[in-house]
């Protein structure tokens, strides 16, 4: 049986995620070089409207028996393991998202295919798949050569353009019975994000603070700057986890995706889970004492200084500027 490359499509509340199209785009590229077929996998029946968007794949496998509503990691892994018995694959791309966290290691244990996490680039060199993974909060990259190009790869969201993965072509579909898998964890309900006092996704200007702001007592410095700029304050995860700002102000993987005209990153290291939420901003200016902070890799302007020192000066300067007109 001819093996292929599988892209496991991800949907949230009936909508395919961008990561799905990113995986299809890069999957198509790899499949062409390796001369292998590319298949997309839809977990669960009743997703007819979804499969027609997966035309970048040669065909779509719809797994009957798998649950479409928020499946758990072991349930997803079980469905894919069963699929592999019928449709062997060498390379499996899965999304590196919170929904899929845990799927890779479980699937790897059950299939003995190696699992690779945090993949941000995939290239074929001399017929070998070379994966680039980002580790240590984006400070170090690791290149991995997959033996026999065989493995399960978790694709970090935002690593590839989703555009090449979108296609108007309607792909052939095959429904595959994978059996209803017993899972002990049951999904109960979604809990909507609390409506915050400000909707940070609607702001033109965001002043973002990270752990470098050091204490809650310093937050007013950011508030004052935001006021001077007519924007709002948002934050990285540690600031939210400390309870200094509400969850509705979090930017990143678990928080909000923002695309303001201006994003000022103050004392934020630039871990991939944070940049995932802000790298689409039109202008990014970062202040960080660490000249090697990964945030500078996604910024237009950088300042290597103590944010507590620059902040009041910047606010002051903006106010004087306004007075001068």
């Amino acid at each position: 049986m001819k093996t292929g490359i599988l892209v496991i499509a991800e949907q949230l509340r009936g909508k395919l995620t961008d990561t799905t199209f990113e995986m299809l785009g890069i999957g198509r590229e790899i499949a062409t070089v390796l001369e292998l077929p590319l298949h997309a996998v839809l977990l669960g029946k009743g997703s007819a409207s979804l499969f027609s968007q997966l035309g970048a794949a040669d065909s779509v496998f719809v797994l009957d028996g798998a649950s479409l509503e928020m499946p758990t990691a072991d349930a997803i892994a079980a469905s894919i393991t069963n699929l592999l018995n019928k449709k062997p694959a060498t390379l499996i791309l899965i999304p590196g998202t919170n929904i899929f966290l845990g799927v890779g290691p479980i699937l790897s244990g059950r299939t003995e295919m190696p699992f690779v996490n945090f993949c941000k680039d995939l290239q074929i060199k001399d017929h070998a798949a070379i994966l680039t993974c980002q580790l240590f909060g984006g400070k170090i990259f690791a290149d991995i050569r997959l033996p026999e190009n065989r493995g399960i790869v978790s694709i970090y969201p935002g690593s590839f353009s989703p555009e090449p993965g979108r296609s108007g072509r309607v792909p052939p579909v095959e429904t595959i019975e994978v059996g209803r898998e017993e899972t002990k964890v049951t999904f109960k309900r979604f809990i909507e994000p609390e409506a915050g006092d400000v909707n940070i996704t609607q702001q033109d200007v965001l002043v973002a603070v990270g752990r470098g702001i050091q204490s809650q007592d310093n937050l007013h410095l950011a508030e004052e700057l935001a006021t001077a700029l007519g924007g709002a304050v948002c934050a990285s995860r540690p600031v939210i986890d400390q309870g200094w700002l509400p969850l509705s102000r979090q930017v990143g993987k678990s928080g909000m995706i923002v695309k303001p005209k201006l994003y000022l990153a103050l004392g934020i290291s630039g871990a991939p889970e944070h940049t995932e939420g802000m790298k689409g901003a039109q202008l990014i200016i970062s202040i960080n004492t660490d000249p090697k902070a990964p945030i500078f890799n996604v910024s237009h302007y950088g300042v290597c200084q103590d944010v507590l020192e620059i902040l009041p000066l910047l606010t002051e300067e903006l106010k004087t500027q306004k007075v001068r007109g």
């Binding site: 949230l12 928020m70 758990t72 990691a73 998202t97 919170n98 966290l101 845990g102 290691p105 479980i106 790897s108 244990g109 699992f115 690779v116 996490n117 070379i130 993974c133 580790l135 240590f136 400070k139 170090i140 990259f141 690791a142 290149d143 991995i144 033996p147 002990k184 964890v185 049951t186 999904f187 309900r189 979604f190 809990i191 609390e194 700029l229 400390q242 509705s248 678990s254 928080g255 909000m256 995706i257 005209k261 871990a271 200016i285 970062s286 090697k292 500078f296 890799n297 996604v298 910024s299 237009h300 302007y301 950088g302 290597c304 620059i310 000066l313 910047l314 300067e317 903006l318 500027q321």
Partner: protein
Amino acid sequence: MNIITCLKMVPDVVEELEVGPDGKSLDTQWLRLRLSEPDEHALEQSLLLKEKHGGKVTVLAFEAPELEEALFTALAKGADRAIKFTGDFSGLGGPVAAQILSSFLRSNPQLLTADTLILTGSQAIDDLEGELSPCLAEKLGFPFIGVVTGIEFDPERKKAVVLKEFAGGLRGEFEVPIPAVLGIQAAEKPPRYVPVAKVRSAMKSMKIEPREVPRPDSLGRLPVEQLYKPEVAGMAEMIEGSPSEIAGRLVEILSKRALA
């Protein structure tokens, strides 16, 4: 409740990281380690559960530089026991660590009771081969759920109702039968602070229990071709000068774009 918390030391990324002479691993000479951040939350969540439902918190860790201090800090915060696996574990991958932990737990039935809850951090920054928690759950035959930010334990029904984070602030509520393995992303409250004096007194009055474990045949690591620092794309234009010159220059940039 019988709460087991797995702790792991990771490089402190606020420091400069250097690649070692082999080009495939970090240079450990100047490496400063700290407790993995999600583990601080796993520990906090364990202590909160103990305060609410009673029981014991046992922390488990593999020997690593600077680990002792982290373990004594955990004891000072309220953990009841700290067990350290001794041996050479450099380069140990999550899935193999899970194997060792599960055999240890299986051979210590007093740690694996009907009301056991195993809390780990959700995901570490060096997790190239995949998270330990789902692997541990598989090995023990326990249910698993990760990216957890809240736990409501129901002792009567032997169930936990947990919150899992998705994206955009959206969360899901799941029901998990106990015993279970939960990957904690954030505790319900920020991790508590413990004064150094209390850690010192824990060092005097409490013990870390060593358990020798032979180095596994395979560490289950992926073949790394090379490790390197990402090339700075040269994208950010760095602004230099005195703080007030910098502030002036920034306002200039903003004004040009009608943002100030």
